[in-house]
């Protein structure tokens, strides 16, 4: 057993940490600052990263190897390990700025979409709406059938989290055989419509991906059951890693604030109620960190890791929510102000707990396996 980061892992982690500190956290002030002294009536506007800043950031991230993390070496990518991706997303999680590398399943680079995805001329998103409840697709109700002239996808409508993407990966089961297939669907294909965008309570948007009489060439069928499971596990690890970053940022800021803020003649740091919140949080961060790293390491070793990834995501995202909750409480009124990052983390963490497997469903699946064993 050797839990030390290798030199290479350390380098990746430090590169990501530096990028996040210098490029993302440095821009947070401007991003979070309220633009007008008084707000117009109605709900606050959705915050968005300045499009020009996004382009610059993407370019800089690409330069230091923090973009297209799954890109194989023959495309000039870094083909990072799962452990390295956890280390990277853990650093990105420390910033509330909505900017992070998008994960693209590696098998897509072996298709005709490989090059445009690699050079960024098309953007990519997952359309796995039905995987969010249980974290798997065994009860998927979207079907397809294969005919000589192509695959016919049954009409469906589901929410997707990145509706402005050009290419979607969409799972469906074959009628009869129940075999799972992963389809690459372009937004400009006949029978594909994207509905109106809906604001989420996080700063994100969703829209419906609607398929009506959608017939697509069989070559768009790119993966099967295992690829789908790996896509889900990889997203779970991303969420877990991002949650770790949120936890660390909230903990660090809370420690700092508790040292400085004085009430009734003593710093908050000397109050047991504050100390215990942070002690309990630190345990959750520690356990979630190592569950996540172990699951990623298992992925790299080609050991089974789907259950481990699901557990890491469940515990880590819950920890991130607890971390944001604690940070808000310790920062008091400032904690809920939108000029500080904690309320943003709070909203984001609450959503992450609902993605790629809700807690009670993941628990139930684990419990059922144990009862039957």
């Amino acid at each position: 057993m050797d839990l030390k980061l290798t030199e290479e892992e350390k380098l990746i982690k430090d590169t990501a940490a530096q990028f996040v500190d210098r490029e993302l956290i440095a821009r947070e002030g401007a991003y979070l600052k309220q633009q007008a002294p008084f707000l117009p009536p109605g709900a606050p506007a959705r915050r968005e990263l300045d499009p020009q800043a996004r382009i610059e950031l993407k370019e800089r991230a690409r330069q230091v190897g923090l973009w297209s993390l799954e890109l194989p070496e023959n495309f000039g990518g870094s083909n990072t390990s799962a452990v390295a991706r956890v280390l990277i997303h853990r650093e990105f999680g420390r910033s509330v700025l909505p900017f992070r590398p998008v994960s693209i399943p590696r098998f897509l680079f072996e298709t005709k979409y490989g090059e445009p995805l690699a050079d960024g001329t098309i953007s990519f998103a997952l359309a796995f709406a039905e995987a969010h409840r249980t974290g798997e697709l065994s009860r998927l109700q979207t079907f397809y059938r294969e005919e000589p002239e192509g695959c016919i996808l049954r009409d469906s409508s589901s929410f997707i989290a990145n509706p402005r993407a050009d290419l979607f990966l969409f799972p469906a089961r074959e009628q009869g055989t129940q075999r799972l297939g992963l389809f690459a669907i372009q937004r400009d294909m006949p029978g594909v419509t994207i509905g109106d965008e809906v604001d989420l309570t996080t700063d994100g948007i969703v829209a419906r991906l609607m398929l009506r009489q959608c017939k697509i060439p069989s070559e768009q069928l790119l993966g099967y059951e295992y690829e789908a499971g790996a896509v889900i596990a990889s997203e779970q690890l991303n969420i877990a890693a991002r949650s770790l970053g949120i936890g660390l940022r909230c903990l660090a800021a809370s420690i700092e604030h508790a040292r400085n803020r004085v009430t009734f003649g003593r710093p908050l740091a000397q109050r047991q109620a504050i100390q215990w919140m942070l002690a309990d949080l630190s345990i959750e961060i520690r356990t979630s960190t190592w569950l996540t790293l172990e699951a990623a390491w298992r992925a790299d070793q080609e050991l089974s890791y789907f259950e481990e990834a699901a557990l890491a995501k469940k515990r880590a995202s819950k920890m991130a929510f607890q971390a944001a909750d604690t940070a808000i409480q310790i920062h008091g009124g400032y904690g809920v102000c939108k000029e500080l990052p904690f309320e943003g983390f709070y909203r984001e963490a609450r959503l992450m707990r609902l993605l790629w497997g809700q807690e009670h469903e993941l628990d139930r699946a684990r419990g059922e396996r144990f009862i039957e064993a």
Binding site: I283, R286, T287, L291
Partner: protein
């Protein structure tokens, strides 16, 4: 990053797994209704001197297990090589206990020696350390007092120098096994000192005039800790362990890496408790449906405990500072075992509290673990102290 055990450690783990499968698991039916003579993985005090034929029969089983384990090289695993042991790493010791905890048979590989006895010098080595390693002598640990528990720096027992001797006066609470031990590792302070200063550790033989074991005290956990009284107990200066006035460091070192053993034991116990629950609900679809989620939740928490325990043991092997990890493991492990057991009783109903029921035994044991060797509140205190000392860097990856 590498989570696998080394090949030597993996081989050892396999030997233990085989031992558990071949020697311990077949005994399970025999132990289901064993008399109440053990708690956790240890025998109760005075069991070994019992004349009860039934108890003697169980002792016979245990002795034959000890011989088998010793023949397989599973004895003295954590004893340093210079004392004839295997000196395996903390991580390997965790792996060994993880395998042992897969069965409820209360068996552990000996002989565990109180780690501070490795500070023995000169004649003490032959008089105390070697006999403990060989299993000929056992020791008790005298630190807590009627008015000093979680904060041992308040201890009041005094050791007054008198020529070549010290005169010891005071009362010690809760050393387990003091009633059967051959000697006690006693902490006392030099007159006029306070706090960590002047604390000195003595090795006091049972039977030394002025030292008596006043009584043993029944507890919820079934352990029988003792009350020790020292009245002008005269002890020669050669009985000082380490240096005069340096006892505080020994007290701090004593718990040491045992914390991680507490973690992996709770891990195994909690899993076994959940196995009992799963067996209860397996053939009742409604109950299985109702409880599957909570069983799954606790299984995940148990995995979290496991990973934290291995992390701490590994860091201890690297000689890194593990104060936070040790406190985290102790806190998380004992609180979790308690919650799991509470849940299991909820599923099982009142029959789970039948005195010999496995859940009842765990219930009684689990409550005490949240106090013994440092209550949960002290663990939180230790963790927050490190957090405010080091900031979030306390959680940096190694």
């Amino acid at each position: 990053m590498e989570f696998h055990l080394s090949s030597d450690e993996e081989n050892l783990r396999k030997v233990v797994a085989e031992f558990v499968r071949d020697e311990l698991v077949p005994l399970e039916p025999e132990f289901t209704n064993a008399p109440d003579i053990f708690e956790g993985s240890r025998w109760k005090s005075r069991v070994k001197s019992s004349d009860d034929p039934e108890i003697k029969r169980y002792l016979g089983i245990m002795e034959s297990l000890e011989k088998k384990a010793e023949a397989k090289g599973l004895w003295r695993l954590d004893v340093p090589k210079q004392y004839g042991g295997t000196e395996i790493s903390n991580v390997a010791m965790i792996a060994v206990t993880e395998e042992l905890e897969k069965t409820a048979i209360p068996f552990e590989f000996g002989n565990h020696v109180s780690n501070i006895l490795y500070s023995c010098k000169g004649a003490q080595i032959d008089q105390y350390l070697w006999p403990c390693i060989r299993g000929e002598k056992t020791s008790a640990f005298g630190l807590s007092e009627p008015a000093s528990g979680a904060d041992p720096s308040m201890l009041q027992t005094t050791a007054t120098p008198d020529g070549e001797d010290f005169l010891i006066n005071g009362t010690k609470m809760f050393p387990t096994f003091a009633d059967v031990a051959d000697f006690v590792q006693l902490f006392a302070r030099l007159p006029g000192t306070v706090g960590h200063e002047g604390v000195t550790c003595f090795l006091v033989d049972t039977g030394t005039p002025g030292y008596r074991v006043a009584r043993s005290i029944a507890t919820l956990a079934g352990t029988e800790p003792c009350e020790l009284v020292f009245e002008n107990c005269r002890v020669h200066k050669s009985q000082v362990l380490g240096e005069v006035g340096d006892g505080w460091a020994l007290n701090q070192a004593w718990l040491g890496n045992r914390r991680f053993q507490v973690g992996i034991r709770a891990h195994g116990q909690a899993r076994r408790v959940l196995r009992v629950v799963a067996d209860l609900v397996r053939h009742e679809p409604k109950a299985a449906d109702r409880f599957a989620g909570r069983i799954g939740h606790f299984l995940g928490e148990i995995e979290a405990l496991r990973t934290l325990t291995y992390l701490g043991a590994w860091k201890a092997d690297q000689k890194m500072n593990v104060r936070s990890e040790a406190a985290s493991v102790k806190l998380f492990a004992t609180e979790l075992l308690h919650r799991v057991t509470d849940f299991a009783l909820e599923v099982c109903g009142p029959s789970g509290l039948h005195k010999n029921h496995v859940l009842a035994r765990t219930f009684r044991h689990a409550r005490a673990t949240r106090i013994v060797e440092g209550p949960s509140e002290i663990q939180r205190h230790i963790i927050q102290r490190e957090l405010f000392r080091e900031g979030a860097a306390a959680l940096a990856l190694p």
